[in-house]
């Protein structure tokens, strides 16, 4: 799968290259794993931290995800999508699982806090490509309707279920489900994602 816009950030090596490295990882090549680590650890950590907020937990989950990547490298299915998509899917799922298991005890965040979307990072080490990718995604998020944008952001960046999103935005369940879908479809078209 390739993006229409030039190679997305966080992946210094093109996707095909990453796929070749992962094949080596599947055969137990630790040096190849270090290369894959360097390509994916930033996106994994950023995404996990966006969902979990807590730095220590984010680090822990990032470590779990990367070790899982090592463990299951042979299970990667190129016909289902790129390496980066696979890894970020693993990362998001792990982060969301952590949120849901901790949910009962955690106090619900204030709605306003939940609604602030792309966190503004001020790390000096922030990579330039990340900023470019962020601008592209921000621009495309602006083409969504307010409801589509809020629903997608709450589900993805905060790890909420669609039922929780519906409750928070006080809209019917079916509406949230369809907004998540047509919001992503619009985003897909704006970003020129093809698979």
């Amino acid at each position: 799968m390739r993006a229409a816009e030039s190679s997305p950030a966080g992946a210094p090596s093109p996707d095909g290259d990453l796929e070749a490295r992962l094949t080596e990882v599947a055969r137990g090549d630790q040096a190849a794993f270090a290369v894959v680590y360097d390509a994916v650890s930033g996106p994994v950590f950023g995404l996990v931290r966006s969902v979990l907020r807590d730095p220590a937990q984010s680090e822990e989950v990032t470590q779990e995800v990367l070790v899982e990547l090592w463990r299951t490298a042979a299970r990667f299915r190129p016909d289902r999508g790129s390496v980066m998509t696979w890894v970020l899917t693993l990362a998001h799922r792990r982060a969301v699982d952590r949120v849901r298991s901790a949910e009962a005890s955690a106090a619900r965040e204030h709605k306003a806090a939940l609604l602030d979307q792309l966190p503004a990072y001020d790390e000096v080490t922030e990579q330039v490509e990340t900023r470019l990718e962020q601008q592209r995604v921000r621009r495309c998020l602006r083409t969504l309707t307010g409801l589509q944008r809020e629903a997608v952001a709450l589900a993805y960046y905060r790890g909420l279920t669609y039922r929780e999103v519906a409750q928070l935005l006080t809209v019917p369940l079916g509406t949230v489900k369809t907004r998540l879908r047509d919001g992503l479809i619009r985003l897909r078209d704006c970003l020129g994602v093809s698979a």
Partner: protein, 247 residues
């Protein structure tokens, strides 16, 4: 949950926003719906871009820790493919899968209508719905079928499938907004700027595939308007969606 409902779960599924039970049901459906699988693949790639946008370097010491840890973790072997099942016709015709997903949606629409008819009427109606579903399936499965997707009514997305060979077209909307009583969605063929009626969207357009009335006959595109109940001979409002047919 109906098949049509399941089909709209792709977004929530990709975002891990389905509770466990619904996720399992959707995954069961996914195995049989190639069109859904393709959509999931594309939307997962889209979600990935949302992830990349928040990339941030992890603490430097994490690298050494992870590289150390993997030396003590056994890798899982690859999953061996199940004995290859040769079903050439399904492999070469993903549209048949789409047709199966959508035909189920049409059949359900038919059932809803059925309940409001007298028994006599209902048999006729059911036969017509059945015929329509068969023709719809034929359009969706036509080897020359082409698809175009565009916005309809601000928030929704419409998809049109056109088969030149069958000279028919089908329309699928993802959840058009509810209309006030006495209003209906009407479809139109665009004959070089002249709108020709192509049927109403029954049931308010809840994720249903609709066979457009009448032949395509070289129409250059289609439109959707909101009309008084029963439809109009020509559009009385501005179209809420217009799509040029793929050439």
């Amino acid at each position: 949950m109906s098949t049509a409902d399941l089909h709209t779960c792709t977004g929530a599924y990709v975002l891990h926003a389905l509770p466990a039970a619904e996720r399992d049901r959707f995954e069961g459906h996914l195995a049989d719906c190639e069109a859904c699988a393709q959509e999931v693949k594309e939307l997962a790639a889209t979600a990935q871009r949302l992830g990349l946008a928040v990339a941030a370097p992890p603490p430097a010491e994490l690298r050494a820790r992870v590289l150390q840890q993997i030396t003590t973790v056994r890798q899982e072997p690859p999953r061996l493919p199940a004995r290859a099942r040769v079903r050439a016709w399904t492999r070469s015709a993903p549209r048949l899968a789409l047709a199966a997903c959508l035909a189920a949606a049409v059949a359900l629409g038919g059932v809803a209508v059925w309940q409001h008819q007298s028994a006599e009427d209902a048999r006729d109606r059911a036969r017509r719905v059945e015929q329509q579903a068969a023709e719809l399936t034929a359009v969706l499965a036509a080897p020359d079928a082409k698809t175009v997707t565009g916005p309809v009514g601000g928030d929704s997305t419409g998809t049109v499938v056109v088969s030149e060979e069958r000279n028919r077209a089908a329309f699928l909307a993802s959840s058009l907004p509810d209309l006030p009583a006495g209003k209906t969605y009407q479809l139109w063929f665009d004959d070089k700027g002249t709108m020709r009626p192509a049927g109403l969207v029954a049931g308010g357009g809840r994720n249903e595939a609709v066979l457009m009335d009448g032949p395509v006959d070289g129409a250059s595109g289609m439109g959707v308007t909101v009309e008084p109940e029963g439809g109009s001979p020509r559009p009385t409002t501005e179209p809420i969606g217009q799509m040029a047919f793929p050439t």
